[in-house]
């Protein structure tokens, strides 16, 4: 004979389970809602012009109703690409050092510091960019006989590279540490040096995971807004070198929100910009996640 109170508890339990299931699905579906919301809002401009024109035309004249996103997509690619060129070698060297070479004390001391770098807000990076990187790049340009205000692709790339250091290093160190010790011991016992072991055994085994870490860093850099907005120069023209100003997609969206209501289709164009950004970042993220899941299975 069950007690009344436990009947009541069971009812609560069932109700709570249902409510929590609904909340869990709602949270999971936020990302779908974001994509759907942006898509609905960008329908007007998609109806008025073909997607090909929007993506590959470089005439950006909102007042005449011409919305070519090419300069901004190129700006994003230049800034992100340069940032990756700067960040990847440094991150990999540091991660290998921390995972394979550094004494335990150094590793335990340095990893939290690098994670601290991840917590610094992006406007603060932007401010550092304005105070330190921009004047420095302006000086450096003189050695290369290039004229620049300092607000250019290179400055944005340096700031971005610093911002994605912790993302790439943190994950790469974890992936390297997950490679079983037996592999290293087997290689070392055959007479290979420490570096040969690292290069030919550990890195080869960890390669897919490291690739995923790099792609996650890339996605983070591609979507980064404020720091880039503050140092990239924001000229709506595809850059031709790292000394030229760029106008990456996120910066465009952030800069033009206030006035977009006054020009027809402008708000819709901005929403399309968000949708393009979201699409690219999500593809990178999901790819990285799938590679990572496979890599983890392979290591176990």
């Amino acid at each position: 004979m069950p007690l009344k109170r436990s009947d009541f508890s069971l009812k609560i339990d069932r109700a709570a389970g249902k409510i929590m299931a609904v909340l869990a699905w709602l949270s999971g579906l936020i990302v779908v809602a974001i994509a759907a919301g942006l898509f609905i809002k960008s329908l007007p401009i998609l109806k008025s012009q073909s997607l090909g024109t929007l993506l590959f035309s470089s005439s950006w004249f909102p007042l005449r109703g011409q919305f070519g996103f090419l300069p901004f997509i190129m700006g994003s690619l230049w800034v992100t690409g340069t940032a990756m060129l700067l960040a990847v070698p440094l991150c990999l060297l540091t991660a290998i050092y921390l995972a394979e070479y550094a004494p335990r004390l150094v590793r335990e001391g340095v990893r939290p510091l690098i994670d601290l770098l991840a917590g610094i807000p992006s406007v603060v990076y932007g401010l550092w960019g304005i105070l330190v990187v921009v004047p420095w790049v302006q000086q450096a340009a003189k050695w290369f006989n290039a004229a620049t205000t300092g607000y250019c692709v290179l400055s944005a790339a340096i700031v971005l590279a610093v911002m994605i250091f912790p993302v790439i290093i943190h994950m790469t160190v974890e992936i390297l540490r997950a490679v079983p010790w037996e592999y290293r011991e087997a290689s070392l016992s055959l007479g290979a040096t420490h570096w040969q072991t690292t290069k030919k055994v550990v890195l080869r085994k960890a390669f897919p995971g490291i690739l995923a870490a790099v792609v996650l860093g890339l996605a983070r850099a591609f979507g980064e807004t404020m720091a880039v907005l503050m140092v990239a120069g924001n000229v709506a023209h595809s850059p031709a070198s790292v000394w030229d100003p760029a106008y990456p997609l996120p910066a465009l969206i952030a800069n033009n929100y206030g006035e977009m209501m006054s020009i027809p289709l402008y708000d819709s164009a901005m929403m399309l910009g968000c949708l393009i950004l979201l699409g690219i970042v999500l593809v990178f993220n999901i790819l990285a996640k799938l590679v990572l899941m496979k890599a983890q299975k392979a290591l176990q």
Partner: protein, 283 residues
């Protein structure tokens, strides 16, 4: 033989150098922000709102942004907490280990984590247009809550997952329902980690600028209600560094110092607290 040793030495040197370079950059950033901010800091900076407009007025401080940011981050962290706790308990107590639903929801939350904050800003803006809300503290709180939700969920999930299944089983064995187990055993066992998750979310929420740009607006006043626009520290930096007046830029430097200090404090506190609170949990 020599060549191998040489390669080893060269690579090791490069690695140590790049680690040192990255640490030097971290130090350079912190020093730049703290030294420049300390120069701009004064008593009136933290006790007054800007006088004569935040963009042009040369007098006053950044109290509006300090209070606004505090309201915004507290509100959004609280809102995200109310949503994250049931979600995480559902994933770990109500779903069986390795069940498909939990895997799908975790994947979706991970995907949400990767969404750039400017996109959250645009989505928040669409939501506000739909319900007819103007740029306000409330709009900012809801948007930032969405932004920190996946961060908080994952941080909580990582600790709640560590609760040993024996503990759940012994709770069921004495007749507790899943809900009672979730609230009275699992929550208590992982309280340290949950606090850490809250602090991580707070640090992320207070520092984000792109998501509040269109949703919370900016204002010279301290917000008196949820429907009023609110100034925030990140935007105080962004707007005030863009003026031609050095006196106004000083306010940006001071705001950067305060913001960085808050974020670092939250990060360090979360590390310390998680160790301290986990003393009482059963291992």
């Amino acid at each position: 033989m020599d060549k191998r040793r040489l390669e080893e030495a060269v690579m090791k040197g490069l690695m140590a150098a790049s680690t040192a370079l990255i640490l030097a950059v971290l130090l350079l950033i912190l020093l730049t922000i703290f030294i420049r901010g300390a120069k701009a800091m004064s008593w009136s900076m933290i006790t007054q709102t800007p006088q004569g407009g935040f963009y042009l007025g040369k007098e006053g401080g950044i109290l509006n942004a300090i209070v606004g940011s505090f309201y915004l981050a507290t509100g959004s962290t609280g809102l995200a907490f109310l949503l994250a706790v049931p979600v995480v308990l559902y994933l770990n107590v109500f779903c069986r280990r390795g069940c498909r639903t939990a895997a799908v929801i975790r994947f979706l939350l991970d995907v949400l984590w990767g969404v750039p904050s400017i996109v959250f800003g645009a989505f928040g803006f669409i939501l506000m247009l739909t319900v007819g809300l103007k740029a306000s503290l409330l709009g900012g709180i809801v948007t930032v809550a969405l932004l920190v939700l996946p961060i908080m969920c994952r941080a909580m999930d990582e600790v709640v997952r560590m609760v040993p299944s024996e503990l759940l089983e012994s709770s069921y064995a004495v007749g507790a329902t899943r809900f009672q187990t979730a609230v009275k055993v699992v929550l208590r066992q992982s309280s340290g980690g949950i606090l850490t998750a809250v602090l991580i979310a707070f640090g992320r929420g207070i520092g984000d600028a792109a998501s509040v740009l269109f949703t919370a607006g900016f204002s010279d006043q301290i917000p008196q209600s949820l429907m009023r626009p609110a100034a925030t520290l990140p935007l105080a930096i962004f707007f005030q560094i863009g003026t031609p007046f050095p006196q106004v830029q000083e306010r940006a430097y001071a705001a950067a110092l305060i913001l960085t200090a808050i974020v670092l404090a939250a990060s360090l506190l979360s590390r310390r607290l998680s160790r301290r609170w986990s003393r009482h949990s059963i291992r």
